[in-house]
């Protein structure tokens, strides 16, 4: 169309009448060329195809064009314009992450976090350093929350009987269902939720229950008991003030919402350094071996049912007013034990603490409380308070709900965030009763077993996508802010509950902010510092709170109030869907990624507050629910079910159950073995089953991944002819389940431990059990009257075998000393003892001249006295470094990819039955040692692994050809190889999860720990910009940042004042396999124990 010129166009336009449409200027000009062009339809050579003579030429040309197509690829692509920000969002620098304070609730209790956000996508969770429940650390479940956000199997929209429905349809369905309930006062309306500590959510629930007085709110969590146990409320321990700790079957260091803070406080009291030369002492009496037991200075294994009897003896010895005859656990050893412990406790009145296990009955908690009172610990190292919100007069148990369902009294059931079809005790037969519900609405993150039986499924908004509030273990009100607009058509719990109120369309931010506006401006429930009615003051307060992630002064230890449960005041005019609320949810999505919330470090203003509702007067009179400071003086209002049996909030028994009686404490178990139930250490009650990071995290002690197992004492296993992986049938109270056996030294002989969480059928593509493994479900055995242990278990070998994929097969040190252990007393007397456990060749043992590190010299020290072996470092490393999940099959082949692993060793001779009954266990996190004489470097044929000038052992992925010689030659075996294409390159929803600062490795490449070199480089850029050196503590690798016990310290060895240098100067600092002259940069501080001299030989 070379003849395309203006005149013909003009002439056509001039002659046109009316409106003229044209596709191109060529058509407009209507030249002969254009006509022939249109006639041929396709521009070049197309008509030759039908021409027999021209076809050959056409094929020739086509062949030539194809051959030349490669040449064509060499041309430059045309430039494409991209549109920059018209207005650059404040604080957003491409390539630099932003941090927002938020919270990830677990069983309703807030885990305070800082979320790293890269260009609007949350990629990594860190602890909130200012929050008392975190102090910068997290646990492994919280670390995996980002994976939960991007999980491709999440519920994505609202469905009715599996069909996608619009939000409006759902609302009208609710409306009509509610209209039917209004007449009866909501007699057929039931809510089933997990524990709720969120004040605003509690208010919503109270409002609904006020509206529908006959409605009932049931709370159920299969494993967590934030409400406390029996009539002993939620207990807060202050291990930072405790010198002697007695744990009665409590895994307080790694289990539960407070474990992060407890591990820190516990570790801080045993950090031996220049200033501190003394340690706390931990006595653990436990049934199932736990990580807390492994840290104990004295551990006494015992049947779960005997612990109460032991506690009674201990209590009477301590001098409390314990009732009941001391029974159980006879034997002179135990007597000696008790005598020594009591002496130690009495010597530390007010500085000791007796901890009762969450999975022990209420009586034991009462005993522990009695002892703490007798020892003067209450108010000093122990405080009692309530964080869970509850209506005082509500039936709460799942059993009540099941009864009502069975009777057909439940017309509208709303299940929020719990999965009772999978987790309910077997005797409730919850699955069968689901069919008797008129209309069941399910609100959750996944379409799980319960959702499958509900009519309506409403997708839940992930905590990282929504506003919210919840209380941390200590009561601190912790705020959640969205990091990203909801990925799917989902609702938050607030929004769902709001649909049952008079203001169904309210957005989460409005609800939360409205609540805190009222709380700030004069509600009597909260005594917030500086509270007044000035909206500007509230604005400042809110900005601060969102920035910090929590509201200061609301911790229960600070005499903050218990979570009030009262309905919201009736608003004069319903502020339905304020524009701000919409903006809050929507703004996060924008290309900016800036939320309406606040960056953690520099404060960013939130939007204007919604109109404060007038009045603010509590409508329903409610007794003051403030928790007293000293519960021994006045116990808080009893808002939990009456104490009954062994049950707690987990699954309170029917009301007609007899009160607690200690279960047969006699060691002879006529009715068979004892069964002990425990939540799974990595996937908890099963709700995290679809998170590959947690599935692949080796379970503490056993190091099994991807599967559950029944723990049996090795000698008992031998008696039954059981090896690891043999499938047994467990018969207990008429129920049957199957489990693969794992022989666990230190387990009580006459009991078997099973873990909840496995055997799921609708968890998602990661968490679904295979057909053969669906019977590995501990919930099949659980009964509501004995939710945590009971006798009468019979086991039988089925003859089946099941592959258990472990990451560590050998748990003995074989006379070597990778972990060096000494007693505190011995170490203080002879500090050289640690060095004498290994050899260290002189530095002259090399032909090469010494390398001078004149810039930075990075190093790490890991304090094995602090390390609890929880594995949080591993998950944090996975999250930070884009480490792929490889799956059970690959783990079983020894190909897990973790850059930092936690080794576990038993001490003692496992051929000795005494040792088998109670071995002591140690843990050792093993990242890359970054050897100065690295054996891996010299053997790489292509120089893909080299030494940096700062002493890092760098890995150049692009250069690696994958000979694996480096891994063979690594004495620590910390290198990991991509035997197959492990990284997920195809799932779109996982793409935003990746840390953009770390390469995603491909197949055939070796990878390893780099001390988080991306963080070092980020700090280097900052330091260079400010023309200074990197400060100590400025670079924190992911493992060190997440560590609850603060056991991992990283820093510059050339900085004499750095924390790591001070640690390495200690005489208990040693390098593993130093005798090989590798000169590891990662060194360990020996594990010190503080045994009671009076119990020298008693465990």
């Amino acid at each position: 169309m070379s003849s395309l010129t203006a005149p013909p166009i003009r002439s056509r336009l001039a002659g046109a009448g009316g409106r003229l449409y044209w596709r191109s200027l060529g058509e407009l000009a209507d030249t002969p060329e254009f006509r022939s062009y249109v006639e041929r339809e396709f521009p070049d050579q197309a008509s030759e195809w039908n021409d027999p003579k021209g076809r050959r030429d056409f094929l020739k040309l086509m062949g030539a064009s194809l051959a030349l197509a490669g040449v064509g690829a060499c041309t430059k692509q045309p430039p494409e314009a991209i549109v920059p920000y018209v207005r650059q969002p404040e604080d957003l620098v491409p390539g630099r992450p932003l941090f927002f304070a938020s919270a990830v609730p677990q069983s309703g209790v807030a885990q305070p976090v800082l979320v790293e956000s890269h260009m609007g996508r949350p990629t990594k969770i860190e602890g909130n350093p200012e929050h008392p429940a975190s102090l910068g650390a997290t646990d492994s479940l919280t670390q995996a929350a980002v994976l939960g956000l991007y999980d491709p199997d999440r519920a994505q929209t609202s469905t009715y009987r599996g069909e996608v429905r619009s939000s409006a349809t759902f609302l009208s369905a609710i409306r009509s269902a509610l209209a039917a309930q209004r007449g009866t006062g909501g007699a057929g309306l039931r809510f089933l939720t997990g524990p709720i500590t969120s004040p605003s959510l509690a208010e919503l629930m109270a409002t609904i229950l006020q509206e529908y007085p006959q409605a009932r709110w049931h709370r159920y969590d299969p494993v967590s008991r934030p409400a406390g146990v029996g009539d002993v409320p939620h207990t807060i321990y202050h291990f930072d003030k405790a010198d002697v700790i007695v744990s009665l079957d409590a895994d307080f260091l790694t289990c539960g919402p407070a474990a992060v803070r407890y591990a820190r406080d516990f570790a801080d009291r045993r950090r031996i350094n220049e200033e501190q030369k003394s340690m706390n002492r931990l006595y653990v009496v436990e049934s199932t071996p736990s990580l807390t037991g492994a840290k104990a200075d004295h551990r006494l294994p015992m049947l779960a049912s005997q612990i109460q009897g032991f506690a009674q003896r201990l209590a009477s010895a301590v001098g409390g007013s314990a009732t009941g005859t001391p029974s159980g656990a006879p034997g002179s050893d135990v007597d000696k034990w008790i005598a020594a412990v009591v002496k130690d406790l009495r010597a530390h009145q007010g500085r000791s603490v007796v901890v009762a296990g969450d999975y022990q009955p209420a009586t034991l908690h009462q005993l522990a409380r009695t002892m703490n009172q007798a020892l003067g610990n209450v108010g000093a190292t122990v405080t009692y308070a309530t964080i869970e919100a509850a209506a005082p007069d509500q039936g709460t148990s799942l059993a009540d709900l099941a009864t009502a369902m069975d009777a057909g009294r439940v017309e509208l059931l709303v299940i929020m965030g719990v999965n009772p079809v999978f987790t309910a005790p077997a005797d409730l037969r919850f699955r069968d009763k689901m069919t008797k519900v008129g209309l069941a609405i399910y609100h959750g993150l996944y379409v799980d077993e319960t959702a499958n039986l509900c009519h309506w499924n409403v997708a839940e908004t992930h905590p990282l996508e929504t506003w919210g509030d919840a209380r941390a273990y200590d009561g601190t009100v912790t705020l959640t802010q969205p990091l990203i607009a909801p990925l799917y058509e989902s609702r938050s719990a607030h929004e769902l509950l709001a649909t049952f109120t008079a203001q169904p369309g309210r957005r989460t931010l409005d609800i939360v902010k409205d609540y805190w506006t009222r709380a700030f401006q004069g509600s009597s429930d909260w005594k917030i510092k500086g509270a007044n009615a000035d909206p500007a003051a509230f604005d400042r307060f809110w900005k601060h709170a969102v920035h910090d992630g929590f509201i200061r002064g609301t911790a229960l230890a600070d005499v903050g109030p218990a979570t009030p449960f009262k309905p919201a005041p009736k608003p004069a005019a319903a502020p339905v869907q304020t524009p701000q609320g919409v903006a809050a949810a929507g703004a996060a999505v924008g290309a900016t990624g800036a939320t309406q919330g606040a960056l953690f470090t520099p404060s960013v203003p939130a939007q204007t507050p919604p109109p404060a509702p007038p009045g603010g007067v509590g409508v329903v009179p409610q007794p003051s629910t403030n928790a007293p400071a000293n519960p021994s003086a006045a116990l808080p209002e009893q808002r939990v079910p009456p104490p009954s049996g062994a049950g707690g909030a987990g699954a309170p028994p029917p009301q007609n159950q007899p009160p607690a009686v200690p279960r047969s404490p006699a060691p002879a178990l006529a009715g068979g073995l004892e069964i002990i139930f425990r939540p799974d250490p990595t996937i908890w009650d099963g709700r995290f089953a679809n998170l590959g990071w947690l599935q692949e995290l080796p379970k503490p002690l056993s190091k099994i991944t991807w599967d559950t197992s029944a723990w049996v004492h090795p000698l008992v296993a031998d008696e039954h002819g059981l090896r690891d992986g043999d499938v047994i049938e467990l018969r207990y109270r008429g129920n049957v389940a199957h489990m693969p056996v794992f022989r666990m030294a230190g387990h009580p002989r006459q009991s078997v431990t099973v873990f909840f969480g496995y055997g799921r059928t609708m968890a998602g593509r990661v968490g679904n059990a295979t057909a053969g493994a669906q019977a590995f479900n501990a919930y099949l055995l659980r009964t509501s009257d004995a939710p945590w242990f009971g006798t009468g278990l019979e086991i039988a070998k089925t003859g089946g075998r099941y592959l258990l994929a472990t990451t560590q097969e050998h748990h003995l040190m074989e006379g070597r000393h990778p972990v060096r252990v000494a007693t505190l007393e011995h170490y203080l007397r002879e500090p050289a003892i640690i060095q004498e456990m290994g050899e260290k060749p002189p530095k002259t043992l090399t032909l090469y001249p010494e390398h001078v590190y004149d810039g930075y010299k990075w190093g790490m020290a890991i304090d094995l006295t602090s390390c609890t072996g929880c594995g949080t470092c591993t998950v944090a490393c996975v999250a930070e470094n884009n480490i792929p999940v490889v799956g059970k099959d690959q783990v079983s082949r020894g190909r897990e990819m973790h850059w930092i692993r936690v080794d576990h060793y038993f001490e003692g001779d496992l051929d000795d039955p005494r040792s088998l009954d109670n071995p002591s266990a140690v843990h050792q996190p093993v990242p890359c040692m970054q050897c100065e004489n690295a054996p891996c470097e010299v053997v790489c044929p292509v120089a893909a692994t080299t030494h940096s000038a700062e002493g890092l052992n760098d890995m150049v992925y692009n250069r690696c050809v994958g000979t694996r010689y480096c891994s063979n030659n690594c004495p620590y075996k910390v290198r990991r190889f991509n035997f197959l294409l492990y990284s997920d390159w195809t799932t779109p929803s996982l793409e935003p999860l990746r840390n953009p600062d770390v390469s995603v490795r491909s197949r055939g490449v070796m990878e390893k720990c780099t001390y988080c070199v991306q963080r070092i480089n980020q700090a280097r850029i900052d330091a260079k910009r400010d023309d200074r050196r990197i400060r100590d503590g400025e670079v924190v690798p992911a493992c060190a940042a997440a560590c609850p016990a603060d056991a991992i310290v990283f820093g510059d060895l050339n900085d004499p004042n750095s924390q790591v240098v001070k640690l390495k100067a200690q005489e208990r600092n040693y390098g593993v396999l130093e005798d090989l002259n590798t000169r590891p940069r990662t060194t360990y501080l020996a594990a010190l124990r503080n045994p009671n001299p009076e119990l020298a030989n008693a465990g």
């Binding site: 093993v926 054996p935 790489c940 292509v942 620590y972 197959l980 490449v1005």
Partner: protein, 467 residues
């Protein structure tokens, strides 16, 4: 009764009754004959099928990655490296026979050097497959391990024994090929002259490089051949020494041992002679060449095996001795673990195969009975493979930190690759037997009695070149 010393006359290197013509006729006849024994088709066919299996295994490997094998962390090397060392070792006998025995004027080498050299070539070929395929990214390893100039100015890391391997094996392969081909040239000319078919004539004519058998040709040839023999001789020692460095340079207990180079070289010759026997004994039956490959050859090879086998036994004993004598806990654990750990059966089978069984070779009756010899050679083949298995796997599977101990079991793809290379070897060998003279015609002509009578090869008594 007076002492009567036992007299033993070794069998001749060529059975009596052969003339120049009969030698030429017989050996070239195998190549030029139209018909071939059915057993050839069976063996070559089997080899072909296994080669196809190898191709399948390689294809799947390239598609999926090395994860299809049984290797893991801590056992980063498995069948691939075991097979590599095994094959490379086998090759050594060919070079030893053709180069060192030539220099030592062992005339019995003449009957066996040709196919032994061919065996070397094919073994090196099979061996060379593994180091490339075992890498995670073979498409890069194929050239990144060579020092080629590039814009990034990145060179290989010359401290790594794997780089030394690249040079050692490629040199070895090249020299072996040249040596073998040089030795073939006069025979190719013979075949050219005797072929009836014009195309075969032309083919051999091209390959014979214009050989006319003039005195000048012979003089040049002798010199070239001798030089190549001199070049090959150090390779017999150096290649397996370098291969042993792959292990000895590492710090893993069970690898880090100074005894490795001589011990590996002896093992290589040991394995190589076992393989030569494995091939020679069936060949002489199939093609009726018992009068060329006589009992003398079998006996001599058996003696070499016995001698090298004893050196290898010494190596094992020293390994065990130093395990304890070193007073190093890791070394001691390593040797105890080898003997009593999970792979104990492999270790003791290895001792049975490589030390115990070959002691039968002290008995002359065994050395001169082909069936026994064949069985012992097979046992040694297995034993030498097991030796590499024990060195690679048992050293890696339990090293320093007990937490990272693991186990290795091969997968079906490991076996397919291994048997595939065996098939490739068999196929190539039988193709060689079909198209090239498996015994050197002209050298055989030089050892028939007539050659000595006429003095045609008088110079055989004198070295042509003084060193």
């Amino acid at each position: 009764m007076p002492f009567k010393p036992a007299t033993y006359t070794p069998p001749p290197v060529i059975e009596p009754g052969h003339t120049f013509a009969s030698v030429t006729e017989k050996i070239s006849g195998i190549v030029l004959a139209r018909r071939h024994p059915a057993s050839w088709f069976a063996a070559a066919g089997l080899g072909f099928m296994a080669t196809m299996m190898l191709l399948m295994a390689i294809t799947y490997l390239l598609v999926k990655g090395t994860g299809i094998w049984g290797i893991n962390i801590p056992i980063g090397w498995g069948f691939a490296i075991i097979n590599f060392v095994w094959w490379i070792g086998i090759g050594h006998a060919g070079t030893l026979i053709s180069a060192i025995l030539l220099l030592f004027k062992q005339d019995w080498r003449t009957s066996i050097n040709r196919f032994a050299e061919a065996m070397t070539l094919f073994a090196v070929l099979c061996a060379a497959l593994f180091p490339l395929l075992h890498t995670g990214r073979p498409w890069l390893a194929a050239y990144w391990l060579f020092p080629y100039p590039n814009s990034m100015r990145i060179w290989p890391q010359f401290r790594s024994p794997l780089i030394w391997d690249v040079f050692a094996v490629s040199t070895y392969g090249t020299v072996s090929l040249l040596f073998w081909y040089t030795g073939l040239v006069p025979d190719l000319a013979t075949l050219r002259d005797r072929a009836k078919n014009i195309w075969i004539q032309r083919l051999f004519g091209v390959l014979a490089l214009g050989w006319r058998g003039s005195a000048r040709h012979w003089a040049r040839y002798e010199m070239a051949y001798l030089l190549l023999a001199g070049l090959s001789t150090p390779l017999v020692l150096s290649v397996h020494t370098v291969v042993s460095f792959d292990f000895a340079i590492g710090i893993i207990p069970g690898w880090h041992a100074t005894i490795f180079p001589p011990y590996f070289v002896a093992g290589a010759i040991y394995a190589g002679f076992a393989m030569v026997l494995t091939l020679a004994i069936p060949l002489r039956v199939i093609y009726g060449v018992e009068d060329f490959i006589t009992m003398r050859h079998l006996d001599n090879m058996a003696k070499v095996m016995l001698a090298t086998g004893l050196i290898v036994a010494y190596g094992y004993i020293m390994e065990a001795f130093f395990g304890f004598y070193s007073a190093n806990e890791y070394e001691r654990f390593m040797i105890v673990n080898r003997m009593t750990g999970p792979y104990w059966a492999f270790y003791w089978t290895l001792i049975l195969c490589n030390i115990a069984t070959p002691q039968l070779l002290w008995i002359r009756k065994v050395r001169t009975t082909p069936v026994f010899l064949f069985m012992i050679a097979m046992v040694v083949n297995v034993g030498m493979w097991l030796e590499r298995f024990v060195i690679v796997i048992t050293s890696l599977h339990r090293d320093f930190l007990p937490s990272s101990w693991g186990m290795y079991w091969p997968t079906r793809w490991d076996w397919m690759t291994f048997f595939g290379t065996l098939g490739l070897f068999v196929m190539l060998f039988f193709l060689f037997v079909r198209v090239l003279p498996m015994i050197s015609i002209f050298e055989m002509r030089a050892i028939v009695p007539a050659a000595r009578i006429k003095g045609a090869l008088a110079s055989a008594e004198e070295p042509p070149v003084k060193f």
